[in-house]
């Protein structure tokens, strides 16, 4: 389809603003830009159609099953959006006097208190705008903690090899060195390797639990003990909290700081890649380092406070406030019992789907999984020459979004499947049948799978060409 720039016609202009009601003033020519930006010139109906066409070429949770592992693509309740769009939230300037924003502050305090209860933490900030931003913030708290104790020798942070790429990247970004520890044959942290890695140079550990293989690390209490005994702190990557909210808490497992992805676990929409919210919670020993300002109760009302040894701001204001408002709506709607039920159903759905597919596909780690499971298509690739990529692309022709591909890296030809609790059994059966059908087709007609997809607006893309000869903007010629 055409780009907006290609639909543009010079001079087409539909003003949305009235005529100026004050004397016109011109920017002095020596300060002015030479030419206007070449923005599209389109009529409102054409703009409307342009974006409707783009919307039709976009697959959201509302368009079909979206079992993208580690991303928790659950249904986004519409009441959340409606509440976030109340003018009493959207029309509030971030620098209004505190007595005029008591509702915003109360919302942040209440959401913070409930998320502390869910995670077993003592303080919560909403400044981080995304999970990776939360990781950055959380590891900074660890850095500030050691610095405040004059402990400059702690330069390393331990990260399991199954971790999201953001974990080691965060470690580098915060001035630490990443130390990888391998997983053992059961997919969990290798305890001996962990004990060998922990020492006086250990600043902390970053861990996702359940991990990216969809397994709950049953040695978790021993893992956090090893780190604490070595003088380090434990960071919980909350990407997979959906499996255990209301069932168990990171704080009770020995974690000192966590980030949550409100856009995963707490049902706020992903928006095509954002905005999300990477709220960070910590135990009281880290609370004095939290980013300033922090919403708090004061007297009978609410106010911003500056933690005494704050690491500083990580956002211009208070983070993605409207995303937090959606998450708060969700928690109030479904309540503590609903959160627990959501976790249970997420785990049941994943196990059910894994079981339905077990004869045809190899689970990387058979047994009970948490909210997601990982298939290894290594055998299929060797036998039939059909890769994880081919299976994923074939799913596109069956009207579903594929699972996360080629992650975690420690599983060959990985497909990581997370159905979430909001899918019905019919949908799970439909998806499992699609997988089984593809498995049969891999025997009969592997070529067709390698050519998939055929029913999508475009077919497989030349990604090598895109990277080798980058075209990152429209060329006006």
């Amino acid at each position: 389809m055409k780009l907006s720039f290609e639909k543009s016609r010079p001079g087409r202009f539909f003003p949305v603003m009235p005529e100026l009601d004050v004397p016109e003033e011109k920017v002095p020519p020596e300060l002015a830009r030479a030419a206007l930006p070449r923005l599209p010139e389109m009529s409102p109906p054409d703009i409307s159609r342009h974006y409707s066409e783009l919307a039709r070429r976009t697959h959201g949770v509302n368009d079909g099953f979206y079992p993208l592992g580690s991303c928790t693509m659950k249904y986004n309740p519409k009441i959340n959006d409606e509440m976030a769009n109340l003018p009493g939230f959207t029309r509030i300037h971030p620098l209004q006097p505190e007595h005029t924003v008591q509702g915003c502050l109360e919302a942040m305090v209440r959401a913070g208190e409930m998320l502390c209860e869910i995670t077993g933490m003592d303080a919560m900030t909403f400044q981080p705008a995304a999970g990776a931003h939360g990781e950055f913030t959380g590891v900074l708290l660890i850095k500030a903690y050691h610095a405040s104790r004059g402990d400059g020798a702690r330069t390393k942070i331990i990260v399991p090899d199954s971790a999201h790429g953001t974990n080691p990247a965060t470690v580098s970004m915060t001035g630490f060195q990443a130390v990888n520890v391998p997983s053992d044959s059961s997919g969990c942290v290798d305890l001996d390797a962990l004990r060998a890695a922990a020492g006086p140079d250990t600043a902390g550990l970053m861990l996702t639990n359940p991990n990216t293989l969809g397994l709950f690390d049953r040695n978790i209490l021993e893992i956090t003990r090893v780190i604490h005994d070595a003088g380090g702190l434990c960071y919980y990557d909350g990407a997979n909290l959906n499996a255990i909210m209301g069932i168990a808490r990171p704080g009770d497992m020995g974690f000192d700081v966590v980030h949550l992805n409100l856009h995963k676990t707490f049902s706020t929409p992903h928006g095509g890649g954002g905005p999300g919210s990477g709220a960070v919670g910590c135990k009281s020993l880290l609370a004095e380092f939290m980013p300033a300002p922090l919403a708090a109760r004061r007297g009978g009302g609410y106010a911003f406070e500056s933690p005494p040894q704050s690491v500083g701001r990580v956002s211009a204001f208070y983070g993605n406030f409207l995303v937090m408002a959606r998450a708060l709506t969700y928690i109030i709607t479904i309540g503590g019992d609903g959160l627990r039920d959501a976790a249970r159903n997420a785990v049941l759905n994943a196990n059910y789907m894994m079981r339905r597919m077990s004869g045809a596909y190899d689970a990387a780690y058979p047994g009970t999984c948490m909210h997601e499971f990982v298939l290894s298509l290594d055998g299929l690739k060797r036998e039939a020459g059909v890769s994880a990529m081919d299976v994923a692309k074939s799913l596109l022709d069956r009207r579903m979004h594929p699972p996360t591909m080629y992650f975690p890296m420690i599983v060959k030809e990985a497909l990581m499947i997370e159905p979430t609790e909001t899918e019905s059994r019919e949908t799970l059966d439909y998806a499992a049948d699609a997988f089984l059908d593809i498995r049969l087709q891999a025997e009969r007609d592997p070529e067709a799978l390698r050519a998939a997809p055929v029913s999508t607006p475009v077919r497989r893309l030349d990604e090598v060409n895109a990277a080798r000869h980058p075209k990152l903007r429209y060329n006006f010629g």
């Binding site: 003003p15 959207t90 915003c104 503590g336 959501a342 049941l348 990277a467 903007r473």
Partner: protein, 438 residues
Amino acid sequence: MAYYAPSTEDEQLEMMREVGVSSWDGLYADLPEELLLDGLAIPDGASEFGAQAVMERLASKNAAFQTIFRGAGAYNHYIPSLVKQITSKEEFVTSYTPYQAEISQGTLQSIFEFQTMMCELTGLDASNASVYDGAAAAAEAAAMCRSRDRRAVLVSEAAKPNVISVVETYCYAAGAELRRVPTRGGLTDGDALAAMLDGSSACVYIEQPNFFGLIEDASALGRIAHGGGAKFVMGVNPIAAALLKTPGECGADVAVGEGQPLGMPLSFGGPYLGFMTAAEDMARKLPGRIVGETVDADGKRAFVLTLQAREQHIRREKASSNICSNQALCALSAAVYMTVMGPRGLRQAAESCFSKAHYAERKISSVRGFEPVYEGEFFHEFVTACPVGTESLMRRLESRGILGGMPVDDGILWCVTEMNSRAEIDDLVSILKEVAEG
């Protein structure tokens, strides 16, 4: 049946049987028993109806001002109805990062169009798909410019204080030094900057217009930065950018900014939009997602996330940033906003801000005690003195439904946009007169 989880109790039992467990506990057998909770201290679900009442009560506890004369990093602009409608389309709202390009061409093309528009607005060659907010964009830009030897970041003290604070946090994380360039008459002091530059300087960051609303001599500051071997980073207001010399024309290596004025409501500070563009030779250092054009298997034009070898999921600890998302829906808002406004509409909005702010400045500064603090040319913000306590003045304005300017060290930082009618400005001035005359 639980909220949003559709399985009935019977279905749950059947599914458990299939899985081979007899109860919920069977699914959680790997969890140490001592970790298992006996419920959360959170009330049971209030239902959609009940939650609505709670949230509406919270929203009603805030004061939404009819008239706003405050900016300082968050700006009250008109949002065309098309922006709200289009960004509410569920396909855009409920999708994720466009990993599967074949079914994500809508998101990808909209980002490609956004990238093109940001290049046009800033006069630079390449744009990323956006980052968290303008402050994070400034911090990421500073990181782009750092090399092994050149690590210090020079930031103008005329930049927004909250942006400086975020850049400082990122510098602290990376173990890099942040040096503050002093101001003279509200503008970045070029002589002081020249004296501060040395072999350890990575970049110079200034804002256009700056925190006080003043228009900097960006070209001159850029020459000074480059003369000292440092990169030049400009933080620009995207509405002002429609009128002022572009970062490209001023010699900037990287331009960043807060995209909120492009169609995003004030929203108590977020979600907002950090935009980043760069000159050709810095393009591959841009962090985060970038969309590029390519072809599909049939040779048809298509769009895809590209240059991913820079990113954390490939490079892990060697990546320069951990960012892996963008503010896609906000970038969409900005793209739709710029499309609806078009070049003439955007210029009209910018000229309206400029004209109204100048009208207001003349009127306000004619009131005794509210003289302007700085002399230079400004865009849509300006600082005046304040002859009375700012808190009492703000209370007085508040009682008339007006959010006054932002109290700053030397007085009040006023902001006037196309949203402020002449009548509103005249009302404000008459209240200021009442206050001044006591």
